[in-house]
């Protein structure tokens, strides 16, 4: 249930998107999770980190037509979930199961799955929702930017 919030910095940088929301990163490798958090920060986005799908699902709930994430660090706040980066191979439910669950809750939510598995191995975990981009680790940040920001915009 590791949760932390990157310091909120609202200064815009070139090409940055400033949306009052938060991106969920679900990966059990803290180094990857942390690096992705810093990357989001570059674009003025905040990140919430979870090491398992169950942990993220517990922290979110539906509010009107959108999902909000409960952040239990510091002052309890609730922020709209605007996207998620999911590792496939997680303790507990898989990234694909998590993607399906999130799709069910919020059909428009931008999602990207990242995995170290090859396509043939990935097939064993079942199919992700149709429009979701699966990136093979190690991935180029440009590809992740394309995948996620296209959706964010």
């Amino acid at each position: 249930m590791n949760q932390s919030v990157q310091p909120v910095q609202q200064q815009a940088i070139a090409g940055a998107i400033t949306t009052p929301g938060i991106v969920a990163i679900v990966d059990d490798d803290p180094y990857i999770s942390c690096a992705l958090g810093m990357w989001l920060e570059l674009y003025g986005l905040r990140a919430t980190h979870h090491t398992s799908g169950e942990s993220l699902l517990q922290a979110i709930h539906q509010e009107e037509d959108r999902l909000v994430v409960h952040i239990a660090v510091g002052n309890d706040v609730e922020l709209p979930l605007i996207g998620a980066i999911l590792d496939l191979n997680l303790p507990g439910i898989t990234g694909i199961e998590l993607a399906h669950a999130l799709r069910g809750l919020a059909p428009e939510l931008p999602l990207t799955i990242i995995t170290a598995l090859h396509d043939d191995e990935r097939a064993r975990y079942g199919n992700p929702p149709p429009d979701i981009c699966c990136l093979k680790k190690p991935f180029d940040l440009g590809a992740l930017e394309d995948a996620l920001f296209q959706l964010l915009q």
Binding site: I32, P138, D140
Partner: protein, 473 residues
């Protein structure tokens, strides 16, 4: 009818029977054994006895009648025992001593009690004839079994002496005759002649037989050595193949594991680059990115090192190996597999090193096979644990690897370890049999059992190795 002087012949016979066993003993310096000693010692006794017989009337009566009779009997008994030991059917020694004592008592009874010297000679000659013919029979069996002409010659010559002895008994019966062998006619001459022949052929034949045997033994040893060498080489190759196969199966998960630090490196580097371009991060933050890149590079190189050390083509090494370290290393090697199958390792606390002598890679292979089998077995299990304990007991180190799976079926328990038997849909079924042969090579054992059902069940692989002696635990 006299061809030669029997007394002289007995003296010559005595000298030959003293000389030739000695020569045989010297020649067979490298083949010496109890059997050779019995054969040569028996010969010396015949020699001494023959000289005593030849000294007829020059020494006290017991020394040329009673004593040589004992010496002849004992000598032939010794030779019989020598051949019986070769054939693997030795007579019990107390039994032979008792028999000789009974014969001795009967002999002295007839000689001193009944004073019947002819009967005494007949009795003694019959006993010796029996011994000689038995000796001939044994030599013939050896000649047949080992296809040795030398042994057959021994058989013929003692058969001849035995027959001459029977002939003497008969001539004593028919002619009444003289109980003293030196004063008898043809039968005594035949006997001494055959004995002379036996002195030569008996020893040359025996030396020939012993040399034949040692040559055969050396040939067999060379062949065995070559076969052992071949087996070891094949064993190493199979083990190497098994390792490569394991590694092939592990490669997916190792690749996955290696991708984690690589992803962290790439992401940190790209974020840092973007940060530099936008001027967004300060120096401290950039230093942090670089630190993480360094750290993850080391992490990746450790993973590569683990794989590399496992595929080193190994000629068997023999060095102190700490089983505790092996177990941890291999657990790391399969960590990703275990993680994916949601299997947890439980190491029971143990103190200090668990040192055995052997090849660390081969020992890792046993542990790897056990872990992978356990992970496989736990796929359907509710509780997924691999419990590992390593303990020292009575100069042995016992490593036990237990899973909380369904355990082995009775059929699998019975068959596991038979090459190519497998309950898995994948795999060659060689794992346990390779593990077992590696354990054997390390002077250890590998046992497969099931834990008590009330204890939760599950399969247990128990490895038992001799502890390294210099270590005090």
């Amino acid at each position: 009818m006299t061809f030669f002087d029997v007394r002289t012949a007995f003296l010559i016979l005595g000298l030959l029977y003293l000389l030739l066993p000695t020569v045989a003993w010297i020649v067979l310096a490298r083949q010496r054994s109890l059997q050779v000693a019995l054969w040569c010692g028996g010969g010396l006794l015949v020699g001494a006895g023959s000289i005593l017989v030849g000294l007829y009337n020059s020494i006290p009566e017991w020394a040329y009648i009673t004593l040589p009779a004992v010496m002849f009997r004992v000598s032939f008994l010794a030779r019989i025992q020598s051949l019986r030991m070769d054939l693997g059917i030795p007579w019990p020694c107390p039994w032979m001593v008792l028999a000789e004592m009974a014969i001795f008592l009967t002999f002295t009874g007839i000689h001193y009690g009944l004073q019947d010297h002819v009967l005494r000679a007949q009795f003694n000659s019959s006993v010796i004839a029996g011994l000689l013919l038995h000796l001939a029979m044994l030599a013939w069996r050896i000649g047949r079994d080992e296809q040795s002409p030398s042994a057959k010659w021994i058989s013929y010559v003692y058969g001849l002496v035995g027959t001459a002895m029977v002939f003497r008994v008969l001539s004593l019966t028919n002619g009444g005759g003289n109980s003293n062998v030196l004063n008898e006619g043809f039968s005594a001459q035949l006997l001494v002649l055959s004995l002379l022949l036996s002195s030569v052929i008996g020893h040359f034949g025996y030396v020939g037989l012993a040399l034949d045997r040692s040559m055969r033994r050396e040939l067999k040893m060379t062949a065995d050595r070559a076969r052992d060498e071949e087996n070891r080489r094949l064993g190493a190759q199979i083990a190497q193949l098994d390792r490569q196969r394991s590694l092939g199966e592990l490669s997916a998960s190792l690749g996955h594991e290696l991708n984690q630090p690589l992803t962290a490196i790439l992401t940190n580097a790209q974020v840092a680059k973007r940060g530099l371009q936008s001027g967004r991060f300060d120096t401290a933050q950039h230093t942090e990115f670089l630190d993480k890149i360094v750290h993850n590079t080391q992490r990746a190189s450790q993973i590569i090192e683990r794989i590399r050390s496992f595929i080193r083509p190994s000629t068997s090494r023999s060095e102190p190996v700490d089983l505790n370290i092996i177990v941890r290393e291999v657990a790391e090697l399969v960590a990703d597999d275990a993680h994916r199958s949601k299997v947890r390792f439980v190491f029971s606390a143990n103190t200090g090193q668990m040192l055995v002598t052997g090849d660390s890679i081969q020992l890792s292979q046993i542990v790897l096979n056990a872990f992978r089998n356990a992970i496989e077995a736990l796929k359907q299990a509710r509780q997924r644990e691999i419990q590992v304990s390593c303990r020292y007991s009575n100069e042995r180190i016992i490593l036990s690897i237990r899973d909380t799976g369904p355990g082995l079926t009775p059929e699998a328990l019975d068959q596991a370890g038979t090459p190519f038997f497998t309950t898995k849909s994948t795999g060659l079924g060689m794992g346990i049999s390779i593990s077992r042969s590696i354990a054997l090579q390390h002077g250890g054992t590998l046992n497969l059992t099931n834990a008590d059902a009330q204890d939760g069940g599950g399969a247990i692989v128990e490895l038992n190795f001799p502890a390294l002696s210099e270590v005090n635990l």
